[in-house]
Symmetry: C2
Subunit: 212 residues, 2 copies
């Protein structure tokens, strides 16, 4: 029986918030997490869509996926969610770093069924593309049977926030080197219609709302 790693909040920089609200803000921003689990004793890290639903993280995938079946079997899991938000350009390579927020959630997943499963799929769909649930048909029985939906309680977690300025020593500050931060953001480009899209179908509000 493995011991769950110690969790802690690490505050870096001057603006870091270190409470559950800050965790939720990160989890609600990022669409993708990295799931860590064991495969024959070796660590494996897999990117997948995640969504927060209250006090749980939701993950979904195919019933044909080995790692999803492993998670459904309540194997120990670590889900890490990272948002990269800038380059910290210091006056030396050593002090240079990045602005980011990163959270890890440790635990064991359980599989959702019935109405809870349907509702969780709606949450996942609307996190990936807000408003999309109202625009598409309901999942059918075959689709539901092909999908595993897992929930991981947000109980053991850790949050790390780096959002400060470069911290160069005095000698470097006095030098002629530049220092600052270059913000990074994810932006959406113009929607590209599918080649088989019927004539006259307009871009839906959910997609229109992504425009910068």
């Amino acid at each position: 029986m493995p011991t769950m790693p110690r969790t802690a909040i690490t505050r870096l920089g001057d603006l870091a918030a270190n409470d559950r609200a800050a965790l939720d803000r990160l989890l609600d921003t990022a669409r993708v997490g990295h799931v860590g689990l064991l495969d024959g004793g070796w660590p494996v890290v897999i990117p997948t869509a995640v969504a927060r639903d209250g006090d749980a993280l939701l993950v979904h995938g195919s019933t044909g996926s080995g790692w999803m079946r492993s998670l459904a079997g309540e194997t120990p899991v670590c889900v890490t969610v990272t948002s990269l938000e800038g380059l910290v350009v210091a006056r030396s390579a050593f002090e240079s770093s990045m602005h980011y927020r990163s959270a890890v959630v440790f635990g064991r997943c359980t599989s959702l069924e019935g109405d809870a499963k349907l509702r969780a799929l709606d949450v996942l769909t609307d996190v990936l593309l807000p408003g999309r649930v109202a625009e598409v048909r309901r999942p059918d029985a075959k689709e539901l049977a092909a999908t595993l939906v897992l929930t991981l309680p947000i109980e053991r977690w850790s949050l790390k926030v780096s959002d400060g300025w470069p911290e160069d020593p005095d000698d470097d500050v006095a030098s002629s080197a530049w220092a600052g931060v270059v913000p990074m953001t994810v932006t959406y480009g113009a929607p590209r219609p599918a080649p088989d899209l019927r004539d006259g179908v307009a871009v839906p509000p959910s997609v229109v709302a992504l425009a910068p």
Copy 2:
């Protein structure tokens, strides 16, 4: 002794390239990877800067970092590098997905010393901000002593590329729902100078070159 998971190339969509060159393109695009390792038998996933150097991935961090020391001790590791490149908006939630490229590299790291360590730090610096090495002073002895630089051979790896159109069944294609792809890109904002920047220090070429 854990068994290393089977690695494979998974081709999704119609444009996927599935060779080492495609792996290198991904590794050379992404600045951050997610490192998976074991902590007391529990999987832990940590985001960190990565850079490809020929047939190896480089990772660096503080000698004070427990997980870096664990990696330096040749513990089994999985490094996953993911680039999120678009939303695949299908006519149903079930067929909706994302465009992404993701690679996993399995192995054990070894620690670099001396000239190899210095050179690897330059590679990491210039991957995070191309051209920056030429603009900053060299690392000093104290900084080098405080830094672990690890190399992971790119030998056991797997690449997954999703870049296709939605694959809706005929009934859905005939419906009034929209389908397509919304590209996602990372863009850099205007550089913000550090509060302690000396007057008259210009934004350097490396930072100017990030502008969209």
